[in-house]
């Protein structure tokens, strides 16, 4: 095979790696937390049905001012699971916390979408009507990856 084709293949593999590696690393090495969630049910044009998860305590408080950009959601224990307990702009000195991107209104933490088949998404939505638990792995930098919902 020609050298240019091999270079193209290496470039493509690097791109796949760049897309997958950060999340794969956290999925393998991160600590697991069980977070309380509520579901919604939309569709992504390229990846199909998913359940949109709203994490308890991750909402911006009405009176809080959150800057655009990187923010951190602090976690506190709530029975057998964890919930958000505040949004701060500075990285906390101790955890657990989740690193998110804020648009000034909502914090996107990379754990909002749970991809399932259309039928399963509908089922999950029904089952989680009153909320459920998301198993999330969190890396040292606060990057979170969704592993499962129960």
């Amino acid at each position: 095979m020609k050298r240019s084709v091999l270079l193209a293949l290496v470039a493509q593999l690097a791109i796949v790696g760049m897309v997958a590696a950060p999340r794969l690393l956290v999925r393998v090495t991160g600590d697991e937390y069980r977070l309380r969630v509520r579901p919604v049910d939309p569709i992504d044009p390229f990846r199909g049905a998913y359940v949109d998860l709203a994490y308890v305590g991750f909402e911006r408080p009405d009176d809080a001012e959150v800057e655009k950009g990187r923010v951190y959601v602090l976690l506190r224990r709530d029975g057998d699971a964890w919930v958000g307990s505040g949004v701060v702009a500075e990285r906390p000195e101790s955890g657990p916390y989740v690193a998110c991107e804020s648009d000034g209104w909502t914090a996107k933490c990379g754990i909002e979408s749970w991809f399932l088949s259309q039928e399963r998404a509908q089922q999950v939505e029904d089952e989680l009507g009153d909320g459920g638990i998301a198993r999330v792995r969190i890396g040292g930098s606060g990057r979170a990856v969704l592993v499962a919902v129960e």
Binding site: A49, S113, R120
Partner: protein
């Protein structure tokens, strides 16, 4: 002597090359004629290639749709699904790089399957929905494949997904339609510079088509009354886009021939005019399809923008004739018909009523049709000669 059948596009390239060799004195008139006479256009091969390309496109879209249907995890684990898509992508990439006959459809399929690999990985790892960087990753991989194999088919996927990512980002970040229009207009010289940098190379084609689409789309939207309402349009991304357009244009102009220079001037001129249209756009509350309350300034702005659109469409059609790309002539014709039809219900409606409106729209459409037909005939004549 038996003539060897080759694709019309390859014959066209050969004819250009032989003409260049003859002009440079490398071959004489008789030798040039003898080389050309060894080949003839093979339309059957073109049809086969078209059907294969269509089949490859359907297969690729089918795999992407299969990923989007999200087969139940109980049946096939995320890792297995990723493995299956990755093996298909790798297989078709290697086949497309090694098979010489009809390799283009294989490379097209490989480029589509690379998108499948990206989306399957993202789905398996629950990357949040509606993530535009995935489209950018797909574009990057398709462009790498295109340049690795020197093939235009994957580049089409790369340019389409790249422009798709850019528009997605523009719409998400811009605070008004003016920002999106300006972003599209400033992308035009960048894409045109990429096309011109290829000179006569076929890899310039997808970049050129992309430039024509973004340029026409920018002026198309700008010509609708009220579309450019804005408060603050000279933002940091606009400065960056202006700098990128300038650098790309100057770099391409440095090694461009006269025809390429004309393309760069056209694309740059369009970006500058749209920049001015955004800068001087008067604020108006008018609905694009109910312009009865339009102020004089807003009406003049919309009419001038419409004239710019007509000039841009004529420019694209002329480029299609000059570069012998019938698709660009058809693109200009389709854009023109759509523009005249939509504007007849918006901009022209309060100016002319009843019979007058129908007469104007009819005249514009007949005139457009005749112009396009003339362009097509000229193109056919040039290809035949």
């Amino acid at each position: 002597m038996t003539r060897t059948p080759i694709s019309p596009r390859r014959l066209e390239w050969l004819t250009e090359q032989v003409e260049a060799w003859r002009t440079e004195g490398m071959v004489g008139d008789d030798q040039a004629r003898a080389i050309r006479d060894r080949y003839e256009p093979n339309t059957r091969a073109t049809l086969t290639a078209f059907v294969l390309a269509l089949g490859a496109a359907f297969l690729g879209v089918g795999v992407l749709a299969l990923i989007a249907t999200n087969v139940d995890y109980d049946e096939l684990s995320p890792a297995t699904r990723f493995g299956v898509v990755a093996v298909m992508w790798l297989g078709f990439t290697i086949a497309g790089a090694t098979v010489s006959r009809f390799g283009a459809p294989l490379r097209l399929l490989a480029a589509l399957l690379f998108g499948g690999v990206i989306f399957q990985a993202a789905q398996s790892l629950n990357v949040p929905a509606y993530e535009p960087t995935l489209l950018a990753a797909w574009a990057g991989g398709a462009i790498a494949l295109a340049y690795g194999t020197r093939s235009a088919a994957p580049l089409v996927i790369g340019v389409v997904t790249g422009v798709g990512w850019y528009v997605w980002t523009l719409v998400a970040d811009a605070e008004s339609a003016a920002g999106v229009v300006l972003g599209l207009a400033l992308a035009t010289p960048v894409l045109a510079a990429a096309a011109v940098a290829h000179r006569g190379d076929r890899l310039g084609g997808p970049w050129r088509n992309g430039a024509c689409v973004t340029g026409l789309a920018a002026v198309f939207v700008a010509a609708f009354p009220g579309a450019l309402n804005h408060d603050d349009w000279l933002t940091r991304p606009v400065y960056v886009a202006i700098a990128a357009a300038l650098v790309a244009t100057v770099a391409a102009a440095a090694r461009s021939d006269r025809r390429g220079f004309g393309e760069l001037a056209g694309a740059g001129g369009l970006a500058v005019v749209v920049l001015l249209l955004v800068a001087v756009a008067p604020d108006t509350d008018a609905d694009p399809f109910d312009t009865s309350g339009l102020s004089g300034a807003a009406l003049a702005h919309a009419l001038f923008a419409s004239a710019v659109f007509l000039a841009a469409a004529v420019g694209v059609a002329s480029l299609g004739v000059a570069r012998q790309v019938p698709g660009l002539v058809n693109l200009a014709a389709a854009a023109l018909v759509l523009f005249v039809t939509l504007q007849s219900f918006g901009l022209f409606a309060p100016l002319l009523s009843g019979a007058g409106l129908f007469l104007l729209v009819g005249t514009l459409l007949v005139g457009s049709g005749l112009l396009v037909d003339r362009g097509r005939r000229r193109l056919r004549e040039e290809i035949q000669s």
